[in-house]
């Protein structure tokens, strides 16, 4: 058996290589995946430590003829995302179109992509005599919930998200890469048509 100093150095090098390997593998998977744009909204309550990241709340309003909110919580582990016809800076915006227990089942519509995740939805609430009514919404949980960025930028983006109101044109989108393994990886944010992407430098 090698002596203690050599053993320690071997363990240290292996640990370092495993971290570098993880970063390289994730970066390659992120670069090679299918890119989709997903609508984002502000999340409440705010995180107490929200200084250095933007909370990624993938939420969109339910539209007529869109995804039916038949069950509030889906048991399915795969979701089908397809372009909803809208584009931002020439990139198509995707919406939830299907749910399934298999990746093949989720790829229903043309141009759709299957991703691992779950959703929560709420149907629209009709207006009553003392309530103006509320639109329905769908929340997607694709395992990505934070975009780490410096404090000033994070606070600026959070403010913009909070200024968005229902019915207005959305200004902020998450740029997500869907890999061959069905995992969603965050590539960055699209703010007023401008890409804010992760890079090494």
């Amino acid at each position: 058996m090698p002596k203690a100093p050599l053993r320690i150095l071997i363990v240290a090098v292996l640990c370092t290589l495993s971290l570098i390997g993880l970063v390289v593998r994730e970066s390659m998977a992120r670069a090679s995946g299918t890119e989709v744009l997903l609508a984002m909204e502000a999340v409440d309550p705010r995180s107490l430590l929200s200084g250095h990241f933007v909370i990624v709340g993938l939420r969109e309003e339910l539209t007529e003829g869109g995804f039916p909110c038949s069950t509030q919580y889906a048991d399915a582990e795969w979701l089908g995302l397809a372009p909803n016809g809208r584009t931002v800076a020439a990139a198509p915006v995707f919406s939830l179109v299907a749910e399934s227990t298999s990746s093949r089942g989720a790829e229903g519509a043309p141009g759709s992509v299957a991703v691992r995740g779950v959703y929560t939805c709420a149907p629209p609430q009709p207006p009553t005599s003392d309530f103006a009514g509320a639109p329905g919404w769908i929340d997607l949980d694709l395992g990505i919930n934070r975009f780490h960025i410096n404090q000033t930028e994070a606070e600026r983006i959070d403010q913009m998200l909070r200024e968005q109101t229902s019915g207005e044109e959305q200004r902020i989108f998450a740029i997500v890469s869907i890999g061959e393994d069905g995992r969603a990886r965050l590539k960055g944010l699209m703010i007023d048509g401008e890409r804010l992407e992760l890079n090494w430098l």
Binding site: A4, P5, R7, I8, C15, I20, L201
Partner: protein, 361 residues
């Protein structure tokens, strides 16, 4: 407090004065008693200094974190880890075990932080449990490579965090076993082999958790399960006591923890159904056995001069008395009868023990 060596030194002086020991044997006798290693002020300050230095570096990097590029941040993390591991290797080469233990412990902590921060730097979303297990595995590898007890404790902690992340204490464990099931006994083995008290305490608690995990696998736990586990734990306490009698350092730590857990499991068993879900609990008979077991543990603790075991016995006795009084309600006459019976049993047992000791005296 004077060490055993100091006390023998004082006694030797007295025995030499009384002509019981030849003066020329003094040095040979003292040389046969090794100096006990204690955490003296210098060692404590060395630990404190090492930890504060680590905190200072972390605070400095954190202050400049926003101004650094992603690659720079990642490089800073890796360099900090490699520098500490290198210092650990140097300390091992120079045969400075204390320094090696300190830097390898900090290296294990830095690597755990590096996993989390790498995820943050490159926005890699992953399983938080996998991150904890990864940090635990790295800390364990460092502990084994450099014989670092601090890194061993860190490994146990990280693996425990991994087991508890995203689920409640004992819930959701039907499908997957906790990794502490492997890490606990392994660390107990290392604690006995390396003579590390912190590792012994940590692994003893991990083993007790494993017993709790086993009990939690039964949806409708019956007394039988807990009685079985209490007996198993009692047997392990007896085993640890035997190891202690074989001069195995730190076995007494396990003896104390396992004795506590055995009594705890037995106490819980008394409040669960004994004969099916419809059946009643242990009732008065259980409380009486609990009371006697507590008394027995106090006697055993006094006999073994094991303060922790005696304390556990006393606390358990108080618990058993409360349980009995609660069961009997305000029937003080019945309570008096029960306690009188216990007192007679204790007195008879004490007298019997005294009688057996007399022929040797």
């Amino acid at each position: 407090m004077a060490s055993y060596r100091d006390r023998v030194k004082a006694d030797l002086q007295r025995w030499i004065g009384a002509d019981l020991v030849a003066p020329d044997k003094r040095e040979a006798i003292l040389a046969s008693i090794p100096e006990t290693r204690r955490l003296d002020a210098a060692t404590a300050l060395a630990w404190l200094g090492g930890i504060l230095a680590g905190i200072a570096i972390i605070a400095f990097v954190a202050a400049n974190w926003d101004g650094m590029s992603r690659l720079m941040r990642f490089a800073a993390l890796l360099l900090a880890f490699l520098a500490l591991a290198g210092a650990g290797a140097w300390a091992a080469h120079r045969e400075r075990p204390l320094l090696g233990n300190i830097v390898l412990t900090i290296a294990a902590l830095i690597f755990a932080a590096a996993i989390g921060l790498t995820g943050q730097i490159f926005d890699i979303a992953g399983d938080p449990r996998a991150a904890s297990y990864g940090a635990g595995a790295a800390a364990f590898a460092l502990a084994l490579a450099g014989r670092s007890t601090g890194a061993g404790v860190a490994a146990l902690l990280f693996i425990g965090f991994g087991d508890f992340t995203d689920r409640a204490w004992f819930s959701g464990l039907n499908s997957e076993a906790p990794w502490v099931l492997i890490a606990g006994p392994l660390c107990a083995f290392l604690a006995l082999r390396w003579g590390s008290a912190p590792l012994a305490h940590g692994s003893a608690m991990a083993i007790i958790y494993c017993f709790g995990w086993f009990a939690a696998r039964f949806d409708d736990a019956e007394a039988g399960v807990f009685l079985f586990l209490a007996m198993g734990m009692g047997a392990m306490a007896a085993g640890a006591r035997w190891l202690g009698s074989q001069e195995r350092r730190l076995a007494s730590v396990f003896y104390g923890w396992f004795a506590w857990a055995a009594l705890g499991l037995f106490a819980i068993a008394g409040y669960l159904p004994w004969f099916g879900v419809e059946g009643g609990n242990g009732g008065l008979a259980h409380r009486l056995v609990w009371l006697m077991a507590s008394g027995g543990l106090i006697a055993l603790g006094r006999f073994d001069r094991h303060m922790l075991v005696t304390t556990i016995g006393v606390l358990s006795l108080i618990g058993a008395i409360f349980a009995l009084l609660s069961d009997l309600g305000l029937d003080l006459l019945a309570a008096a009868g029960v306690f009188l019976t216990c007192a007679i049993i204790a007195l008879v047992a004490g007298l019997a023990l005294k009688q057996t000791k007399k022929p040797d005296a």
